[in-house]
Amino acid sequence: MTLLRIENRADGRLSVMLDKGQSAQVVGFPREFNLDLAIQELDSDSIIVAGLLIFGSKLWRQNLEAPIASETLSERMFEAGYPAEWMPVLERSGSAPDYSLSRQNTLVVLPINSERQELDISGPGRLIYAHPLDVADWTGRVFGSSHLFFGTNLPLVASASGINEAVLRLATGVLIANDLRIGKISIPNVSPEVSRRDLLAMRALSSSIGLVVDFDENFWDREAE
């Protein structure tokens, strides 16, 4: 059975790891996604959603033993339009924490190593810019009321797995959403290579844990499949 493990490690990094457990699944490189952050409030459903974004097809139709999903996660994923053939088989128990009232902030996850950008973004509460920095050059984290800088292995994971960096930026947003009380995530500068189908799947996944996702492009204009 496959496991998604999450750990605030001794080296000060948060790590989301895919572990094959006792299953016959093959988990090759990359098998972990790191952020130079320590995160406090991560619920199981958010971990599963982030894991699906980070590990993509490695999790499709896998029997996911841990973490245990809320009773309603897969129903909500299905209702939100996430493709059924991509869903893992989830162990379910208990209900999801309800953050809906407290999530009043908006998070913009910028492309890797980006400087501050002037963006036309509307959303509830405070606007916070997340600046992921490539761990090949940077270590550490800096926090201000509207900016958060932190190292991550996002570029390596993107290049090795072929998963678009925008998908991993959304996963980053999902992982820090609870701590920062984020209700809406904005992902600017999404490469035109990402299909509308994939963007819809990303939105559907996020909406199943109560997050609204926006892309700054007119993604409805992207090629329909």
């Binding site: 001794a10 990094r13 093959v26 990359p30 098998r31 090949a136 570029p155 390596l156 994971v157 090795a160």
Partner: protein, 739 residues
Amino acid sequence: MSQISVICTSQIEDPSEYVTYLDSLVRLPSVTEVVVPLTAEGISDEEFSAIFFEYVESADPKIVPIVLSEKSSRPQSINQAVATAKNDVVLLLENPVMVDWVDLREVIEAIEDRPRAIVWFTHRVLNSPEYGPHEDLYFRSIPAPDSMSFSAYAVSRRYFLELRGFDEEPSMKGILGPDLLKRHERRGGALLRLKRQSGVVYSSVDSPKFSGSINFNIGEVEKIVNSKASIYRNLINWSVPVELRVPLISVAIATKDRADLVGESISSVLYQSFQDFEIVVVDDGSEDAEAVQEAVYALGDSRIKLLRNAESRGVSHARNRAADATNCLLTAVHDDDDIMLPRRLEWGIEALSETTDASYGSWTNFDHYDGSMRTFITRKDFDNALVAFSGEGPGHSTWTIPTEIIKALRYNETLTSSVDHYFATRAAAAGVKWGHVGKVVYLRRVHDFQLTSQDTARQKSGHTLSKFGNTFLASSTGLAAMREEGGKHTYPAVKGAKDPSKEFSGYLPDHLVRRDVIIDGNVNNALLKIGIPTKMVSLMEDRDLVTGICYTEQGLLKDITFDELVKIRKSGITRWKSVGTIDVKAEQTAESAFLHDMAVVEGEIATVWEKVSAQAVGRLQLILAVLRRDYKNGYLAVVQHPENVPELGDLEYFSDARLQRRLLVRGELGVQVCYTVFGFENYQAAVQALNRRHGHKPTSPAAIFPAVDPESLVKVLSDEREKRLLKNSFDDSGLGRIS
């Protein structure tokens, strides 16, 4: 427009069904060829041949039949079929499924977009074989059982060859898909599934089946794949012809002002056991660029690419440039003054697995001036905990690492020293798992012009920087936990750690050693091919005289130069070992070498005989043990041939023997020992044959098994040898010679 080759991995026994099926494939858009391997047994059926070849001749030139030799296994035949495919994208069919609903253009585009992904198709079984032309069959079908899930997949030809095709181990049979897929996933390769409409292949319950895959349990193949942790197969022996292969690994060499050493360094790559590599040399602004170019081109190997920076841009830039210049899946790091051991690439590649993304090893320092050696082992499983514990890093020239990791992380071009330690630490922080190969993989030259010996202080400072970054975020308790964890990393048991000279001196440069080489394989042919037959001083040949099979052919070559090591490897010899004697004054003249040899002639014949006979008796023991196991009910007659019989002239006495195995050991100065083992159905036949021979050659010792048990026979032979040795020696006790 891009097109696709279809490889039907087996044939359907019923020729009419086969032709109908092939016809459905050749009509698919984008398909330009359908490669169909045929078994010799299959086409020996007259009805099959008539129907099949009539179809091929009349219907479509897109059908490419390949008649498999009886010696080719299923993996070998498919590997060769893919290697010879005309198109860059191939669709492998391991069951005769209907691919009519697959959008092959989408398949081609998906692979062109991600050339190292595999497109996988869902296999479903139709409830009824009858369907309308525009029906959506998905809801009229059920998922196929797991054993059929490997029926169809598409892959780029180049990537298939990079993964070294299917494992050619003899026990690999039937459906081979799990072998390719699992190894692909181990290296983190992506599986692409297309949209439902274009990603499904169908078969009906009563569909014909390929003859090679009937009743085959994929569990068997999965068991074989799971038993080997590595990713790449067929590294040394592979049925795919060399000219059709693609390089798997790029050996990256950064050089500057080392025209005198770089040739030797590259030669140590050329003699590697694994040969499907390319070498990228980046000359980082050498003052005498022409000398570097001359040294590189003098090696005359088309696999070498030489790039040049007009002015020096630093070692990091050179390393990044080498990575950018290759499309190889892997990179092996090498320095311009170092020497690889012959299996360095093979070991580095073999160590890569599901849990090891990049490999490293131990190394041995050698002094450029006196040849003294010292081995550096390094601890296993390099990671950030180990850096926190001891600060040590994986030795740079031992790395075998996916090129895409170098391209993604990049060597930091702002640094001038300790760039490798910084890179390795950042890679570990980014989730790259390092694994130790558990061996010494190269010899590191220690000399006055070495960067590290000139710039030790700056190296150490650079080291400190990467250690600092590694623990920058850790709290004091976190740091303590990391150090404790790092301390648990153990050292591997490395051969040659204690006495490196004994293991590795054979690979030192020519100016430091006299070198002998032991080679296995077709020795005589190889030596003729490379033009050094006179260098062989000893040969051991173990051959079955009935079948002609040569079980062992081993030669000892004396005074071999570094260049000749390369020639030996290029002649096709894969198994060889170099043994060196450190001799700093080895610049011997031809005359002194001749005198040295003459001294051997005068005084050492008995010594040579001793060596040769010891080798022969040892090997004979092995042969007898194997034959007694394989011929339990038979009788073996062992005949020792007199030294003055260079070839066997007396086989006629043993014409009724069902087995004739000859062991010939030749040494220096024409000394040779020869045994033949004959196998008989019964004891009488063996005795009669020996009697017939004894009438003509009464002096030759002989014995019969199992009348004499193997231990006793070997003892008899050893006693005989002892006696001879004593006879040849002078007794210092004053009692005179023993007769």
